[in-house]
């Protein structure tokens, strides 16, 4: 389903803090229900590109949850303030308006679409990259598709969103396992350690892996899946000025040379369709 043409102003209905992150909600009266993995280009109506300075371009943000209601779809976003754009989004107040373009980009494929033999899904999210995993998890659960979720954080300050996006009845959903580099929650170490252990067991090799997180983590996931011959889909990031194929800024190298535009050919990309994920 195509996105409405142009940007539209949507009202902020809530903005709460969750650990080191914020979760804000918009009421989208015009847009279609987004598919898991899609993103929006967002910019606040006020204090964005006014009077010069940054932020100037809109920012790409994944949808973390979308709940249809009679006055439109409620869109939830999980953000971490890392610069002027995300800082401004973190400060949004209920009642103010945000320019929204989208939903944009492609979405995750079900395990059966990726591999007809597959038995289920493994979702692995790191840091702010847990956002698209939340809406994808809910979608798979609703369809009765077996799944395991692995979520990792650097430390307590760089974590959040669990209570709102991955809990039911006050406790962490039973399919979710945590890892943290500082050991504040779950396994102490990388979340990809959990994936490595899981893929080493023979029941996991028929799963399809879905991942979003920092580039180094995505590269580890891609390499692990390639090693175990397990299909994976990665929700990637690249610098985006427009989100709708206009600027050609979001280039990501393809394995056979050349580049894809991540905003139109992604953000969800099959592990074997990208060259090594570039990371510092």
């Amino acid at each position: 389903m195509s996105a409405p043409f142009g940007r539209r102003a949507c009202e902020v209905t809530a903005n709460v803090s969750s650990g080191g992150y914020r979760i804000f909600s918009l009421r989208d009266r015009e847009g279609p229900n987004p598919a898991p993995g899609q993103f929006y280009m967002l910019a606040s109506e006020r204090e964005w590109g006014e009077g010069g300075g940054r932020p100037y371009l809109p920012r790409a943000i994944s949808v973390a949850e979308a709940i249809p209601a009679k006055d439109g779809v409620r869109l939830d976003f999980l953000v971490e303030g890392v610069g002027p754009g995300t800082d401004r989004l973190c400060e949004l107040e209920a009642g103010e308006r945000v320019w929204v373009t989208g939903p944009l980009g492609n979405s995750f494929s079900t395990p059966r679409e990726v591999n007809p033999e597959s038995a289920g899904a493994i979702l692995i999210g790191g840091g702010i990259g847990i956002a698209p995993m939340a809406i994808w998890r809910r979608y798979l659960v609703e369809r009765g598709i077996p799944l395991r979720v692995l979520l990792g954080f650097r430390n307590e300050a760089h974590s959040g969103g669990l209570n709102e996006l991955f809990c039911a009845g006050g406790s962490l959903c039973p399919d979710v396992r945590l890892a943290s580099e500082d050991g504040h929650a779950g396994h102490q170490g990388y979340v990809t350690d959990l994936l490595a252990t899981m893929l080493a067991g023979d029941d996991a090799t028929s799963a399809v892996v879905y991942s979003c997180g920092p580039p180094a983590m995505l590269e580890a996931v891609r390499a692990l899946c390639a090693e175990h011959d397990v299909a994976c889909e990665l929700a990637m990031e690249s610098p985006m000025a427009c989100g709708f194929g206009a600027c050609f800024g979001c280039a990501v190298p393809k394995p056979d040379g050349g580049y894809m535009r991540l905003c139109v050919d992604g953000p969800v990309v099959r592990g074997d369709a990208v060259a090594e994920v570039a990371h510092a």
Partner: protein, 298 residues
């Protein structure tokens, strides 16, 4: 209704080359794009003789009120463009202007001949911000090179030839005069301003290519002055661009002698910016009828 080089336009707002991919936008926004097309003519991304992958990332960097880009002209090459893109662009509800660039006169001639003979094409824009491989000089920085190129290309097509000026020269008006003498039908300006930034995280240039071109509101006052200088030097119709983000901005360019304005970077913030700006212009003009005569916007 504005007329530009014999082409009837519904309003004076077109897009800047390389800042709108109407084919991708149609896939994303559907037929609403066609029903409500934001520009009165569509300018393609610059086409080169052979396909180009474009530059390695990072390609873009936000700056105060603007951005630096070094995209590297990714495109399918002339044959790919004619076979795959042109039929789709021909479905747009507005006249089509094709931007072309080559690094020698023979290749430039081939582009102009083969694009110019297509009925779907209303005009060509010559992107001359490229080196001539024989002289090593950027054609658009040299009045003599520009005039010689135009003299070679002029006889090859009857379609209007628009020369897109680079702002990275001391006297853009000298290049505009050369384009006029060489037989150009119009001049468009400005292309991006050479610029760079350092990534604070690495201490290295933020753009992988080392530098890029600045666009957006940050360049608007420079664009406007270059337009005024060129206006004073040539008779040709002018396409004014550089940081136009509102109807008021567009009015500045029209009041300084542009026949048409082009919107680039602002479309990244608002995919319908062209229509919004055209609308604002119409309102501004209807409020101040004396302006209408002055700007020939009727």
């Amino acid at each position: 209704m504005p007329e530009f080089c014999g082409i009837e336009l519904d309003h004076p707002v077109i897009n800047a080359s390389g800042t709108y991919d109407a084919i991708a936008a149609r896939r994303i926004f559907g037929d609403a794009l066609l029903a409500d097309f934001p520009f009165s003519a569509f300018v393609s991304k610059t086409i080169t003789p052979e396909p180009r992958a474009g530059n390695a990332p990072r390609r873009i960097w936000e700056t105060p009120a603007g951005m630096i880009n070094s995209i590297g002209l990714p495109n399918k090459g002339l044959d790919g463009f004619l076979a795959e893109d042109l039929p789709q662009l021909a479905q747009l509800p507005v006249p089509l202007i094709v931007s072309v660039m080559a690094t020698n006169r023979e290749e430039f001639s081939r582009l102009v001949r083969e694009v110019g003979e297509r009925d779907e094409v209303a005009a060509l824009e010559l992107n001359v911000s490229c080196p001539n491989v024989h002289s090593g000089l950027i054609v658009g920085e040299q009045p003599t090179e520009t005039e010689a190129l135009l003299e070679a290309l002029r006889p090859l097509t009857e379609k209007p030839l628009i020369v897109k000026l680079t702002p990275n020269v001391a006297n853009p008006e000298a290049v505009a005069v050369a384009a006029e003498e060489g037989g150009a039908d119009a001049v468009s300006l400005i292309n991006t301003l050479k610029a760079s930034a350092i990534d604070p995280a690495t201490g290295e240039p933020a753009i992988a290519a080392g530098h890029g071109g600045l666009s957006g509101p940050a360049v608007r006052p420079i664009a406007l002055q270059q337009l005024r200088a060129v206006r004073a030097a040539v008779e040709l119709p002018l396409v004014g661009m550089g940081g136009i983000a509102s109807g008021a901005d567009a009015l500045e360019f029209l009041a300084s002698g542009a026949a048409v304005v082009a919107v680039g970077t602002e479309s990244f913030r608002d995919p319908r910016a062209g229509a919004r700006i055209a609308n604002d212009l119409e309102t501004a003009v209807s409020r101040s009828p004396s302006r209408v005569e002055a700007l020939h916007l009727e």
